[in-house]
């Protein structure tokens, strides 16, 4: 099993009490809440944390793209990835998303990812996402053609990486006479593609297609949803004539480890509650703008009324639903082992810094996880390579 160190780079200095007076922390909270001196210190602290993750033996670090929000300060994740590339030696660098539908020219992603792949000698993992609903408000991108633009941009990027240019691209949303990017990717035919999602049948059917076999990541979800969607991936792969490998499935989850369950609970409580109730707080209209989900998916969301931003969550709610793993080394190891055996994922993307969790606690959390939790779990999911179904 492989372990990645996932960072959101939040604006941890946020005045949460003041921010609570606004309708939403994303998009509508004035950016006067951002203090550049604090931001400078935080960026460099977080880069230190990712550098340290490499030294601790994590298999990779994950950065990502979010706009106009204090919960993630990486609107241009290529900048973070470029900095991380110079501070790490072994870790893969997963850019878990560029949000393709927000872009007017997806070739910028083909170029940026190819640069990172060349600079790192093939340590790049290319995450492709649609972006969360709020980003369609922040960026003026139309949610009603988000799926169309995602698929078209994806096709363009993969063709740009794999076909000899120059060639013409004749799409509905993107048209180019000359597609001929320099550099070409270092990894051939192209960097691994990972697809983070909150769970959707359409995404899974597309990602597991034998022509793609992309790694599917379930992010910030109750463990029941992780199990449901990963089972769906395996079923859909089987329908398409092959057995999905654990290395096609990853779970992204906040984790906190301390010496005892009681200590972990006490130390993590304010920060994990800040994350879900303070930093991620937004209205349903922001989270799910019209057309962002297909008609059928939207219907099922409206029925379940479940969303990661719905209502205040306590640490107990989060532990109960498995949206947060927290406890002593033994507790966390047992939880992960249990879930891995039930669900069968091959990657765990641990978010070991969240919201306001300070530097010292992040450091100890990372150390305990890397030194005490990972070694007992490495052997999991090390199965023989999948075989073609007959």
């Amino acid at each position: 099993m492989k372990f990645f160190f996932f960072h959101l780079m939040p604006y941890a200095a946020l005045d949460l009490a003041e921010a609570a007076k606004y309708k939403s922390v994303s998009v509508l909270l004035p950016n006067s809440f951002y203090d550049p001196a604090e931001g400078h210190a935080l960026y460099n602290r977080y880069l230190d944390e990712m550098e340290y993750a490499d030294q601790l033996g994590f298999d990779g670090v994950c950065v990502n793209e979010h706009h106009q929000t204090p919960y993630g300060l990486m609107p241009t994740p290529g900048v973070t990835a470029g900095a991380v590339s110079q501070r790490t030696r072994h870790a893969k660098i997963a850019v878990l998303g560029r949000a393709l539908p927000l872009l007017n020219n997806p070739l910028t992603v083909a170029e940026e990812f190819a640069m990172l792949d060349n600079i790192t000698g093939g340590r790049l993992i290319a995450g492709l996402v649609r972006g969360i609903g709020a980003e369609y408000h922040a960026w003026g991108a139309n949610p009603a053609n988000s799926h169309e633009r995602f698929h078209e941009a994806h096709d363009l990027i993969v063709r740009a990486w794999t076909e000899t240019g120059p060639f013409a691209f004749e799409g509905k949303h993107y048209q180019f006479n000359y597609v001929n990017p320099w550099p070409r990717p270092y990894q051939q035919p192209h960097p691994p593609i990972w697809i983070p999602s909150q769970g959707s049948r359409e995404t899974i059917e597309w990602a597991c297609d034998p022509a793609r076999k992309y790694v599917y990541l379930q992010t910030f979800s109750p463990v029941a949803a992780v199990a449901k969607y990963m089972a769906m991936y395996k079923e859909e792969a089987a329908k398409r004539g092959y057995q999905a490998a654990p290395t096609q499935l990853g779970w992204s989850v906040p984790v906190y480890v301390a010496d005892t369950d009681e200590q972990a609970y006490r130390e993590a409580k304010p920060h994990i509650e800040n994350f879900f109730n303070g930093f991620l707080r937004m209205t349903p209209e922001m989270l799910l703008p019209p057309g962002y989900l297909s008609f059928e998916s939207m219907k099922s969301v409206m029925k379940s009324k479940a969303s990661i931003t719905g209502g205040n969550k306590t640490i107990d709610d989060l532990l109960k639903s498995g949206m947060f793993l927290c406890g002593s080394v033994d507790t966390v190891r047992q939880q992960i082992e249990h879930h891995q055996k039930q669900i069968g994922f091959g990657y765990l993307l641990t978010m070991l810094q969240f919201a306001t969790l300070p530097r010292a606690l992040t450091k100890r959390n990372s150390e305990l996880f890397a030194r005490e939790v990972i070694p007992g779990l490495r052997h999991l999911a090390e199965e023989p390579a999948p075989t073609e179904a007959r």
Partner: protein, 261 residues
């Protein structure tokens, strides 16, 4: 209800479109706003005393199909030129509210031969720089209802009206099509302003004086862009004058059309 409307489906531009018709006289084509037009409303009934009132549901709205060609407001404008041809309508009095007013404007700048008059009711379609329209996509259902009407009782009535699953489905489809047409640029086409001068039809622009979606100053902007047009501001009225001030609205439309005939 004085008039029993006739409901039918018409096949136009490979799109099955749902149409309500009622009354007799010259055709009055009403183009609805973002909320759709599934029901025969009192203002339609009153207008049907003088006109044949024709109320289609736009492609992507209500019971009409979402055709594969539907991408932008221009597609809807051309669709209505096809619709008028298919139904062999002549001397049409074109009336559009909000989104429907935008579609009416876009249709008229392309071809105004089928039309006798144009009535725009708080139309979307342009942006007055420095004066943003409200962001309906950020509003909850409650906020939308309270902002649509000046009269809070109408908002309460809208919120308390029971909604069947089919109506909820329609509302969801309507919102998706609305986003497709109006998300970006928000509720406007930057090119429309350039061509509104082509409209030579007798044109009446109606605005509620306390419209909280599109400010009444937009009415003056439309009036200055459409040669010879007249602006009528209805007092104590929100974004939907035809629903909130039905009798004033019907009187204004009927007398305008009567004078133009």
């Amino acid at each position: 209800m004085a008039v029993e409307p006739h409901h039918s489906f018409e096949q136009v531009a490979a799109c099955r479109v749902s149409v309500l018709r009622g009354g007799a006289g010259q055709p009055l084509l009403f183009l609805h706003g973002a909320g759709g037009a599934g029901r025969w409303l009192p203002f339609m009934d009153l207008l049907a005393e003088k006109f044949e009132v024709i109320v289609p549901e736009h492609p992507g709205f209500g019971l009409s199909d979402t055709p594969p060609w539907l991408d932008n407001i221009g597609d809807v404008a051309y669709f209505y030129l096809d619709f008028i041809e298919a139904l062999k309508l002549k001397d049409v009095h074109l009336v559009g509210s909000s989104l429907g007013g935008w579609i009416a404007s876009e249709t008229a700048i392309r071809d105004q031969h089928p039309f006798r008059t144009l009535t725009l009711v708080a139309p979307a379609g342009i942006r007055v720089n420095g004066t943003p329209t409200a962001d309906i996509f950020l509003w909850s259902r409650e906020e939308l209802a309270r902002n649509l009407f000046h009269n809070g009782n109408l908002a309460e009535a809208m919120l308390n009206a029971p909604m069947s699953e089919e109506e909820q489905n329609i509302q969801l489809r309507n919102s998706i099509t609305m986003a497709k047409l109006a998300w970006q640029p928000r509720m406007n086409n930057p090119d429309l302003k350039k061509w509104l001068h082509r409209i030579h039809l007798p044109t009446l622009i109606i605005w509620g004086d306390s419209d909280r979606l599109i400010p009444p100053s937009y009415g003056r902007a439309f009036q200055s862009l459409i040669p010879g047009s007249r602006l009528e501001v209805i007092p104590v009225c929100g974004h939907l004058p035809h629903m909130e001030r039905t009798s004033e609205f019907v009187t204004a439309v009927a007398s305008f059309i009567g004078a133009a005939r």
